[in-house]
């Protein structure tokens, strides 16, 4: 990072990042229109169709009563994991390479969590009863069962969503103030409110440092607990292949793995299309590539342990579930997952590969396809082979389900595109911390949006 930002001055950082918010080209509106349109057509319309005609519109039926909605829920929760978690760990370890990428990674966490929470509502079929999961005084004097992992989920996800939102906002306050000083009109009013009157005094920096550090300390174990709890939704059932103690670390490692791959994808897009070449550099891809390699090795090890314990248990049901996973109806998906998540990331051993942007992008997408498959297999193969052969069956998602999966990616993209025009996607003050003190000064005049821009 240092090497590639040596010719940059402090003022350039403000200019570049404020411009990325204020100046909006037609390409952005086209991308937003397509993403929003696909989200509406492929996510919301099919969901309304399912609400109108009932949950039968989905392919969920005995024995496959959990399907792609829950697989998607785990996937999106998992994708959320590297953002805030990685940012907190790198903040506490004082890693300077974090500074240019953490804001977007945290946004990824936030929007992934929102999409994941939406999938719970899609899955339950009657989302207007979702408040039944909340503890509130009611005329039936009925309270939720806090012994259930589903209630652990409600608490954990609500806490993680709150914590992640606060963490990204707190870290952005100084940058909102920097943008406030360079904008006019409604943007100036918005950033004045968002920056809360920040002036960058020694007192404010000191308090922000401590509050941010305490939040990071609180959020790291929280993130680990969230995916452990999600894993218990499955591991606490008595279904063969799900009832395993390895599930919590398996889910946590998978989540961080998938999230790190997601960060690579997002970094590539920001670098290419938001003109952040000077901020998101090869160093970031190199470090993320090393992290991917490490995570892929841990993930592969846990997968081997999962297979070994199933075999070593010497119970017929576990053996049946194992053989079905490796050689049954969904076997091709299993081997695709192994190819994408255990074999392909070994390419990251090569430094040349890690610093090649397009190959890293392709790898990151492949890993997330593999990780989605993993989540589908956890749900799909296990329920297809339970104890009694008369309850065996195959689950295939319906068109409504497949459309909603596709739409969820568009929904995430839409939210992210809105984010990049409100939040500074690269942290202004933290990038400056990695640079030398300015030698050339410039004015602090507002940057006006280009003529003809509706913004």
């Amino acid at each position: 990072m240092q090497a590639e930002t040596n010719d940059l001055q402090y003022a350039d950082v403000n200019n570049d990042i404020v411009r990325s918010i204020v100046e909006t080209g037609p390409r952005y509106y086209v991308a937003l229109g397509i993403a929003g349109g696909v989200a509406l057509l492929c996510f919301f319309f099919p969901w309304f169709y399912q609400l109108y005609f009932g949950i039968g519109a989905a392919g969920l039926n005995h024995p496959g009563v959990w399907g792609t909605y829950l697989a998607s829920f785990i996937f999106w929760i998992g994708l959320s994991h590297s953002g805030t978690l990685l940012s907190c760990v790198l903040h506490l370890t004082n890693s300077s390479w974090r500074k240019a990428m953490y804001r977007s990674a945290e946004a990824m966490t936030l929007f992934s969590l929102m999409v994941a929470a939406t999938f719970v509502m899609v899955h339950v079929g009657r989302p207007w009863f979702i408040h039944w999961a909340l503890p509130y005084a009611n005329q039936m004097e009925m309270w939720p069962n806090f012994r259930s992992p589903l209630l652990f989920d409600v608490m954990a996800i609500a806490t993680y969503l709150t914590g992640s939102s606060i963490f990204i906002y707190m870290g952005s306050i100084p940058d909102f103030a920097a943008v406030r000083d360079r904008t006019t009109g409604w943007r100036n009013t918005m950033y004045t409110l968002l920056s809360l009157g920040w002036r960058g005094t020694d007192r404010e920096w000191h308090r922000l440092h401590w509050a941010y550090t305490f939040l990071a300390v609180l959020i790291i174990p929280l993130a680990v607990s969230v995916h452990s709890i999600v894993s218990w939704d499955f591991a606490m059932s008595l279904v063969p292949a799900l009832h395993q103690t390895i599930f919590a670390p398996y889910f946590v490692v998978g989540a961080i793995y998938s999230g790190t791959a997601g960060i690579v994808t997002v970094m590539f897009v920001l670098r290419r299309y938001m003109n952040f070449e000077q901020y998101i550099t090869k160093v970031h891809f190199d470090n993320l590539g090393k992290l991917l390699l490490l995570l892929s090795l841990i993930w592969t090890y846990i997968n081997m342990v999962e297979l070994f314990t199933a075999w070593y248990s010497d119970t017929s049901t576990e053996h049946e579930a194992l053989s079905y996973k490796l050689f049954g109806y969904y076997a091709w998906l299993y081997w695709e997952m192994i190819a994408f998540c255990a074999v392909a990331p070994l390419l990251c051993i090569s430094g040349r590969f890690r610093t090649s942007m397009v190959p890293m992008l392709i790898l990151s997408i492949a890993i997330n396809i593999g990780m989605y498959t993993e989540r589908f297999l956890i749900v799909g193969t296990s329920l297809s082979r339970q104890y009694l052969p008369d309850s065996w069956g195959v689950y295939v998602p319906s068109l409504v389900e497949m459309s909603i999966i596709l739409g969820s990616f568009a929904l995430f993209t839409t939210l992210f595109l809105i984010f990049v025009k409100i939040f500074p996607s690269v942290s202004i003050y933290e990038v400056k911390e990695t640079m030398d003190t300015p030698t050339v000064t410039s004015n602090a005049e507002p940057i006006a949006p280009p003529e003809g821009s509706p913004a």
Binding site: Q9, Y10, A11, N14, P135, E141, M142, W143, P144, N145, F146, R147, S148, L151, F152, M155, A156, A158, T159, T162, G163, I166, M170, I173, A177, A178, D181, R182, T192, L196, G197, R199, G200, T201, D202, R203, E204, W205, H206, R207, L208, H209, W210, A211, F214, L215, L218, P221, L222, S225, I229, I428, Y429, K432, E433, T437, P438, T441, S442, A444
Partner: protein, 170 residues
């Protein structure tokens, strides 16, 4: 209306030196403004103490108490016996306790930040937008013209590029 002398510096070290000299000359109402946190402020202006950690601690304790009470209390209010097991079951309720601990720990930390940093503050205060870009400023409250002249001289001597007289609403 309070008046301030505000010196603008291009280097954080010069701003820190100016703050040290002003403090040594008896000016006590000092503020540094910068685009990034400056290392070594506490050596010059004295150690800063923050109440945030207390907020975090009490938030966590309150959250833990709240979480356990919520889980145990609702279990007692709506009895749901399962296989003769206890109604107040410690292992699952500890998870709720833990999540509530973190939840309130986070909320109280934020409250501690707002209170101790005196934000939000939307009234007009001493501020120059250049400090959000690439300048480092030292502002000092001046009671009268003589004070201002002394502060101005110290700021110039420390290498201030500009010294401005600015006012702030009481």
């Amino acid at each position: 209306m309070k008046n301030f002398a505000l010196g603008l510096f291009g280097e954080p070290s010069s701003a820190l030196a100016a703050a040290g000299k002003l403090k040594g000359a008896g000016f006590d109402s000092l503020e540094l403004m910068s685009p990034i946190p400056i290392a070594g402020v506490e050596e010059v202006l004295g150690e800063k103490k923050s109440v945030i950690k207390r907020f975090t601690l009490f938030g966590g304790l309150f959250g833990a108490l709240f979480g356990f009470t919520l889980a145990a209390g609702t279990a007692v209010l709506y009895l749901h016996p399962v296989g003769g097991r206890p109604i107040i079951t410690i292992p699952p309720f500890l998870i709720i306790t833990y999540e509530a601990l973190i939840f309130f720990g986070i909320l109280f930390t934020v409250a501690g930040f707002f209170i101790s940093s005196r934000l939000p503050a939307f009234r007009d205060r001493v501020y120059v937008p250049e400090t959000g870009v690439d300048k480092f400023a030292v502002s000092v409250a001046c009671d009268n013209e003589e004070h201002f002249k002394r502060a101005e001289a110290i700021l110039h001597e420390a290498g201030a590029e500009q010294v401005r007289e600015v006012g702030e609403e009481d």
